[in-house]
Symmetry: C2
Subunit: 496 residues, 2 copies
């Protein structure tokens, strides 16, 4: 499949609302084949920025309606929406009703309790075994309306109550949301945080065989509704490789860390190693709303990673230096870990705002097999939003800037942004549906090439010298680019 590049964005932060986003995708961002619109449900602006829905089946009226989603789909854009399987907001009608009425509630069973996981009690070893993305323990006490105390599973925040996904009530809840997606023109369900969804005592309950079973079950559900499935798992590469055959797409979260490693060491060996084994049904990224994953390239539970712990630490240090300490201060170290999972920073800032290096990284991403996805702040080569971070205390807000129409217009005129748009246009070429090859040319250099009928296109990328070039023949036209300016020309004049 080559359907070109995908945008990932918050409708509000990039474009105000869904109709605003539609106008962008019909205008200056028209070369994108589709968009992953980050949670646009009720409310889109909760404590976890939409990933804690109060009503997952409703579009927040401040952003628009399901008709806006349907219109985007009808305009030919592939729409990806988040299916938040692990939890919902403790403010949801379902949770409040259950808390008030307990076993008399029609939502009894929907929420996972400590006692569901450990009916006869949990030991210190069992309770501390869980893999956890945040500090602390994964359950929170709640007081029921009947005065009874409940210990509710909360993998993420105390206000995000976990769904008992294997209970009929949990299954029915998620099926109902998937049905709304399918009925509204969503083409891909992005399964959020599914690695944590199944709790199995005696294990760390992350990406266990039981989790894989559940992913298979969820995929069958989505396929029966005509939805494609993209799963989000930050984890050891072996877990990505295990899940990739079960679903339509997985993320390649390892490549961003490996690009930073290659730039840091001036050596491409890990990129080459990863390319030999990486799944082809991937969404490739440099950055997302959650930061730059580093853990994904590292070791886990005794299994070696593409990078070792020292190399990961070096990546964090380099990011820290490039951002004058902001990325280090803004990142969260999870329970039981020495390092954060992710770098909280824009990718542009981590590269010291060097436009040519940034173009190198983006070009490499775009030449990898898979679907290149570009985060809106990355598209706009945004700098860290220190003010927003300070005002909210949420480290990820460094990389979640809000753009006014004026900010956006100014950003779209910048050469570095036009260069990325040039790549987005180039990525529509059919040659990227052809035959792919990667060759290492030296310690710090490699080339990625695509060939289809008479077309051929090659990226030569030198991570040591931080230089790159694209050359080839596409639809009878010679193409040669070696700078941001060259790439920007591919996108046409600003304001086009």
């Amino acid at each position: 499949m080559n359907d070109g590049a995908q945008l990932i964005c918050y409708a509000d932060r990039l474009a105000g609302h869904l109709p605003g986003l539609a106008a962008l995708l019909d205008g200056p961002l028209g070369d994108f084949a589709g968009a992953h619109i980050l949670p646009f449900f009720v409310p889109f602006d909760g404590p976890d920025t939409g990933f804690d829905p109060i009503d997952h089946s409703a579009v927040d009226p401040r952003l628009g309606s399901w008709a806006d989603i349907r219109a985007l789909a009808d305009s030919g854009k592939a729409i990806t929406a988040d299916l938040i399987v692990n939890h919902m907001s403790a403010e949801s009608a379902e949770f409040r009703d259950w808390l008030a009425n307990g076993s008399a509630s029609r939502h009894d069973g929907l929420f996972l309790r400590f006692g569901d996981v450990f009916p006869s009690g949990g030991t210190e070893a069992e309770i501390t075994a869980f893999h956890r993305p945040r500090p602390g323990l994964p359950f929170t006490p709640y007081l029921g309306g009947d005065g009874r105390r409940r210990l509710v599973w909360t993998t993420f925040m105390p206000g995000q109550v976990d769904i008992n996904v294997r209970h009929p009530a949990g299954r029915a809840h998620l099926a109902a949301i998937a049905e709304v997606f399918a009925a509204s023109g969503v083409s891909t369900a992005r399964i959020d945080a599914v690695g944590y969804a199944v709790k199995t005592p005696g294990t760390d309950s992350f990406m266990t065989p039981q989790t894989l079973d559940y992913i298979g079950e969820l995929t069958s559900l989505c396929h029966s509704l005509g939805l494609r499935v993209l799963v989000e798992i930050h984890s050891h590469i072996s877990q990505q490789l295990a899940v990739a055959p079960l679903v339509d797409q997985v993320y390649d979260f390892a490549t961003p860390a490996l690009i930073l490693d290659a730039l840091g060491r001036g050596a491409v060996d890990r990129l080459v190693e990863w390319d030999a084994i990486r799944p082809r049904n991937t969404v490739t990224v440099l950055d997302t709303h959650d930061g730059i994953g580093v853990i994904d390239a590292g070791p886990a539970a005794g299994r070696p990673g593409l990078l070792d712990q020292d190399e990961m630490a070096a990546i964090f240090r380099a990011a820290d230096a490039a951002t004058r300490g902001d990325s280090g201060r803004a990142s969260v170290t999870p329970a039981w870990c020495d390092l954060p999972h992710q770098i909280n920073s824009t990718f542009f800032d981590v590269l010291g705002r060097e436009a040519e290096t940034y173009a190198l990284a983006r070009a490499f991403q775009f030449f990898l097999p898979g679907t290149p996805q570009v985060y809106y702040v990355g598209l706009l080569a945004g700098a860290n939003d220190v003010d927003l971070w300070r005002s909210t205390g949420e480290g990820r807000d460094l990389n979640r800037r809000r753009y006014s129409p004026e900010d956006l217009a100014a950003a779209l005129d910048r050469p570095v942004v036009r260069a990325i748009l040039g790549l987005v246009r180039l990525r529509r070429e059919p040659v990227f549906a052809g035959v792919y090859d990667l060759r290492q040319l030296g310690r710090g250099r490699l080339e990625l090439s695509w060939r289809r009928d008479a077309d051929q296109l090659t990226l030569t990328a030198d991570f040591a010298a931080r230089r790159w070039s694209i050359a080839g023949l596409v639809a009878g036209r010679r193409l040669a680019c070696a700078s941001v300016e060259d790439l920007a020309r591919l996108a046409g004049p600003a304001g086009s």
Copy 2:
């Protein structure tokens, strides 16, 4: 026993350091019989303001030394120091060593683990049964140096790790501190938060029969060293009555709430009811560093209180109104509770800064049997320190003002402060070692009288009209006071 009134203060916030405090107690505060000096150990200014010692057996050198404590004792002042039995700082050498070396540490056993309480696992009901002064669960995950995960009991803050008080290592730790107290002239060990110290599965682990056993054991230890024992327990009155016979003194934390209730309703019935049953070996208070206890007068676990839940709520509402919402915003509602335990505010502010009402409350306190204790901010009729609270986020800091020497000198000149000092001087009279009587004179009025040989002294207190008077014959002199000015004259001229 009549040894007069006691001061309670932070050495640093009132007087800079221990020698500064000694100078006050030898000068303008010379009528106090002694002082409870809030934790002066290393460090006195941790996250829980000294109640999270890193080294409980050492005086923080920024405040002084054990020689300063000894000198205060030698000057005739009775010194009360906190024996913090429940926990210590996670930054302590003991905890760090244990975390690094586990069972090879010589401190193995000193800290209470989840597995010590629940060796074969805890169920949801058992885990949520604990009485808890803070929101959340009472244990915190820590990663050992050997990579092993430990779940450590933390009744208060995650950085305050609980001591296994019934383990030989816990016993030895606390005995060593008590020995240092006795050797340094401390006369009373105030046993901090002892109600939480013993964890007994299947109970709420607060003031259980096992806790009473432990208090008896600790009292024997202190007595063997010549230390008196004052226990700090915020709880239902039945628990105060149960523990009072076991120790030298308990706090009367109910009276402050009952005074506020009497002023609010214009009715003294609850004060009269409480006086009939309250222990006589009490330290009486209006305010402490922890706030104004309301829970102490309320119901608990199905047992009625002196006040019911609505009456407690009315007290919180009145405080909120008097402080323009500050006390409500600054208070913390513990796990499983609808109301905070305490009002975070100065007592003077809760009374709307009405000097005569404040003098009424203080005079009532001073005429009750027991040892009147005056918190330094209360002595100085301080207003809420909103700036300090805002800067630290700690609600109790509203009532923990820092006084510069200039602030202090100015405060000591205020008539309302001199009135309290007048009560402190009056309380030295031997008549308060005589026979006590309380009579209700009407719905809102009562009188408290003392008689010894030819001396007699009566406080008539009208909580409805907010008027009061003191009259009697003491050492052959007639005494009649009915205003702040009258009381202030008892203290002599300002600057004396």
